[in-house]
């Protein structure tokens, strides 16, 4: 069906311009031209999503350092969480076996044995809240914990790369936040544990590690990728940027 006068999906074009390198503004033009020559919206969306994926993989191929940085930071986040909360799952499991008084005593001991008692004590408040708000509290706590460390990691990356500007940082953080919320919330409801690997079998540990690390790795990878992306000028025309580039 020919629709010569219609506009391509605006959201797809916006996504393409946000997530693909600025040089590919020509690619956006080619897609719009093809769409106006009769291609469907489905075709347009498929092309846009494929172009974003290709651009992302292309940037990874050129910048292995970002992948290494994301993996190391994700491991640090996971290790920090484990060192603070390695006692929490055992406390949670035993909570069904003990009377209230004994349970409280056990929490106090857990607070003493954690590496950061103040943070653990804040988390342990969830045990005094009724379900489902206790779960909401725990998920929110875990998310805030991850977002804070991811924000620090993004800030450090931008600082080292001499790109630490408010706009770059907020753009990277916004993308990271969307990925973390989109991954952590469903993972919680699927029952994926967040820290205590010791209670898992040896076979399950690597699988859970990947599941836990994947959101932070992706958040950092895509966040730093977004921050690396040069800005289009107001008209969306890359010509001015190109004129000032090393071309």
């Amino acid at each position: 069906m020919r629709k010569a006068s219609s506009e391509p999906p605006k959201l797809a074009t916006w996504l393409l311009e946000q997530f693909s390198p600025v040089l590919d503004a020509s690619l956006a033009g080619d897609l719009i031209e093809s769409f106006r020559q009769g291609r469907s919206s489905g075709w347009y969306w498929r092309e846009v999503l494929w172009a974003i994926l290709v651009a992302f993989l292309h940037s990874l191929r050129k910048q292995w350092g970002r992948l290494a940085y994301a993996v190391v930071c994700s491991w640090l986040i996971s290790a920090t969480w484990s060192s603070i909360f390695h006692v929490s799952t055992r406390v949670y499991v035993r909570s069904a076996e003990f009377a209230d008084g004994a349970m409280r005593l056990h929490w106090e001991r857990a607070v003493e044995s954690t590496t950061v008692p103040a943070v653990y004590a804040l988390y342990a408040k969830s045990y005094g809240i009724h379900w489902p708000w206790s779960l909401v509290y725990q998920v929110a706590f875990y998310l805030v914990f991850q977002v804070v460390i991811v924000a620090l990691a993004l800030g450090a990356y931008l600082g080292f790369a001499r790109m630490l500007k408010t706009q770059n940082f907020l753009r990277a953080l916004a993308v990271a936040l969307v990925i973390l919320v989109g991954a952590v919330v469903p993972a919680t409801f699927l029952g994926i544990p967040t820290g205590d690997f010791q209670s898992l079998s040896l076979l399950r540990q690597p699988v859970v590690c990947v599941l836990i690390w994947a959101p932070t790795i992706m958040a950092l990878l895509i966040g730093t990728w977004m921050a690396d992306r040069p800005q289009l000028n107001a008209s969306g025309n890359p010509a001015a940027w190109l004129a000032g580039s090393d071309a």
């Binding site: 690619l27 956006a28 092309e47 008209s235 890359p238 010509a239």
Partner: protein, 111 residues
């Protein structure tokens, strides 16, 4: 001595399409030319990725045209094969011809 940079099958196809189109080699006609000649659908994102790799290798160069309204104000990016690129295409062709020769299975134009 630096190892020669080889062309993948898709890179070679893209370079040949650019050569066939001459001065009109930008994304849309390149995709159409490849689809017409190979009878298979190609994604513009893949073509751009291949062209970017070829540009990094010095086999093609590109320049921007004027932004036009029918393209939503985006400029066309025209590609041209460089001398080094031409040499690489010829070398690849020669290599293929040498490999083709003496293969009775491939003679006579039948599969």
């Amino acid at each position: 001595m630096r190892a020669p940079t080889y062309l993948s099958e898709f890179e070679l196809i893209v370079m040949l399409a650019v050569l066939r189109l001459g001065d009109n080699a930008y994304g849309v006609p390149i995709a159409r030319e490849i689809e017409d000649q190979t009878k298979r659908e190609v994604k513009l994102g893949s073509i751009y990725a291949a062209l970017e790799r070829l540009e990094e290798k010095g086999f093609v160069v590109s320049e921007l045209g004027e932004p036009t309204r029918e393209r939503g104000g985006r400029a066309k990016r025209y590609f041209r094969v460089t001398k080094i690129g031409m040499r690489r295409v010829r070398e690849t062709q020669q290599t293929f011809i040498k490999l083709w020769q003496g293969l009775p299975e491939l003679e006579g134009g039948r599969l």
